[in-house]
């Protein structure tokens, strides 16, 4: 089979360029490693370049929420080249290493944090058949890599030799380690439903998107992924009024930019993961599977577009939350996690596992989804009732104390 440019273009649109090149080049020992390397470079470049779009989008959307226009000078009316200007500015800044810094830890942290953020993209299914590597432990891989990013935060905080940085790192680690628990627990439910940890299999199992099947787990995952990324309302790690800027306070120039880069890459990744696990990934009412009469897989492109649209909708919701919600206090944050999210997600896992086991084998996907939805709603209602009772009890106790105090002051007069 010889190389034909038209066929190559077609395979580009079809997103099967790797398969096509493999056919053209034949079975030679260097083909697979080369294609793998190209794939790695493509995914990493995508991760790095998309950040330019994300920064522009976030600034623009936040500006609209705050009744401003946002970037509007560089690169035309919409300020499209603003992130490029920002990046160039950061590149020209001096890189300072504070005296007394732990050189190894200080210099390693920005690189490691970007590496971990990029590595997670390996298991993201962009379109049917377009995935870096379909691991049978896909979601577990994501969790493992994201737990490594905790270490890099600690490295940065300790290495900077600055008390604000260290305090910020402590906060960040406490928060990330705590919110990992409900995140893992809420991810277990889609794994139970799909009977696989592979991200591709989870997308394939979503005839009904899991956000409809188990809405409460989806919400818990969304909240804990917000905390995991350290975005508002969980941005205690860089609370300016308390600890100035958190663990990356001592970094300047491109090293600081690396932290920002990693933050945006992982923010988009979490949106993508939410899309994959709960919104059906690249699925779009079966359109992602269509082929034209000549066998041209147009569906792959539709799948890609569907995935990106969903992912960016989730990302805009993240920005929306950032623009509207105030910050948590640290004790509220910990209470919310350990006393509310963790017990609730444990209860949800129990219910989901029992319901799924109780359903007869071979039952219709929609019936299964309905039963799960009902059980989820029941769990939610029970939770709200418990919260209401607790709230009322606290309120009456408070009122009694106040009444007693009133009586005492009246008696004293």
């Amino acid at each position: 089979m010889s190389f034909s440019f038209l066929e190559f273009l077609k395979s580009l649109v079809e997103l099967t360029t790797g398969t096509y090149l493999r056919q053209v080049w034949g079975a030679k020992p260097w083909v697979d490693p080369t294609l793998d390397a190209i794939g790695v470079i493509l995914v990493a470049t995508f991760g790095l370049l998309i950040v330019l779009v994300l920064i522009w989008l976030e600034r623009k959307v936040i500006a609209r929420f705050q009744d401003r226009i946002g970037p509007n000078r560089v690169g035309g009316k919409y300020g499209l080249l603003q992130p490029v200007a920002d990046a160039l500015k950061l590149l020209t800044k001096e890189i300072i290493t504070p005296s007394g810094a732990d050189k190894w830890a200080y210099n390693l942290a920005p690189f490691l944090i970007v590496i971990t953020a990029l590595m997670m993209w390996a298991v993201m299914p962009f379109a049917p058949g377009v995935v870096g590597v379909d691991l049978n432990v896909g979601l577990f891989y994501v969790l493992a890599i994201s737990s490594v990013s905790v270490v890099t935060v600690l490295l940065a905080g300790w290495g900077s030799n600055n008390k604000y940085a260290l305090l910020g790192a402590f906060r960040a680690v406490a928060q990330m380690v705590s919110y990992e628990v409900p995140m893992i627990l809420s991810l277990l439910i889609p794994i139970i439903l799909a009977r696989s940890m592979s991200s591709v299999d989870i997308v394939k199992a979503q005839t009904v998107p899991f956000a409809i099947v188990v809405p409460i787990s989806a919400l818990i995952f969304f909240i804990s992924s917000l905390a995991e990324m350290g975005r508002t309302p969980f941005d205690l790690l860089e609370a300016e009024s308390e600890i100035v800027a958190g663990f990356h306070i001592e970094y300047s120039g491109m090293k600081f930019a690396m932290f920002m880069l990693a933050e945006y890459i992982s923010a988009l990744f979490m949106s993508g993961l939410f899309t994959t696990v709960f919104l059906g990934g690249y699925r779009f009412f079966g359109l992602e599977m269509i082929k034209t009469a000549s066998g041209f897989a147009l569906g792959n492109l539709i799948g890609l577009i569907a995935f990106f649209v969903k992912m960016f909708v989730v990302f805009v919701v993240l920005v929306w939350i950032r623009g509207t919600l105030p910050r948590f206090r640290i004790d509220q944050m910990m209470d919310f996690n350990w006393k509310f999210l963790v017990p609730l997600s444990l209860a949800l896992i129990l219910v989901a596992a029992l319901v799924d086991k109780a359903l007869p084998v071979g039952v219709n996907d929609w019936t299964r989804a309905g039963v799960h939805l009902v059980s989820n709603v029941v769990v939610g209602a029970v939770t709200l009732e418990i919260l209401r009772r607790n709230g009322r009890k606290q309120r009456t106790a408070h009122e009694e104390v106040r009444e007693n105090a009133d009586i005492e002051t009246a008696a004293a007069h």
Partner: protein, 180 residues
């Protein structure tokens, strides 16, 4: 061939990091080297097609245990004093232990020499069945809850962890006034 070279490189990396852990004066750097060593072990698991084990290694050892160790080090006052020697007075005893452990492992490997996957001639190991590797995670899960397999050790371990949890809560519980 390439796989073997990568395997050897990762092993050397793991051992080198292990050496840094025991020989470095700076406790914080030693903890970082320990993490790198754990990472090397995870890499070895990946090379051996044990993806689940590798991820568990990352999540548990790097994501949890190492962080715990680093926190403990940071809460220790004299950690930055680098003059002290990291060696104690028992190098001879430790050396004997290490050599004997190595001897036992080497002996076992030598006994198993007919299974060594070297060479392509007669008696060489057939390549592993990919379907077994792909299904290994599901198999592992089944074995953990199957009464014919590991349900008892699994449950015993979980009871022990529960006991540890309850114990830690009891230790950390604020003392009430009549106790103090």
């Amino acid at each position: 061939m390439i796989e073997q070279i990568i395997f050897i490189v990762i092993s050397l990396f793991t051992l080198m990091m292990g050496w840094i852990v025991v020989s470095n004066n700076n406790l914080f750097h030693a903890a970082l080297a320990l993490m790198a060593s754990f990472l090397g072990v995870a890499g070895l698991y990946v090379m051996l097609d044990a993806g689940f084990l590798a991820m568990a290694q990352l999540l548990v050892y790097i994501g949890a245990i190492s962080i715990l160790i680093i926190f403990a080090i940071m809460l220790t006052r004299r950690m930055m004093q680098t003059e002290e020697s990291p060696f104690n007075s028992q190098p001879g005893l430790a050396g004997i232990t290490a050599v004997s452990v190595f001897a036992v492992i080497a002996f076992i490997f030598w006994q198993m020499r007919e299974f060594w996957p070297l060479g392509a001639g007669e008696g060489a190991m057939p390549p592993a069945d990919k379907s077994i590797i792909l299904g290994s995670v599901a198999k592992l899960g089944e074995y953990f809850v199957s009464p014919d397999a590991f349900v008892l050790p699994f449950e015993v371990a979980s009871v022990m962890l529960l006991a540890a949890l309850i114990g830690s809560i009891w230790v950390a519980w604020p003392k009430t006034e009549d106790e103090s």
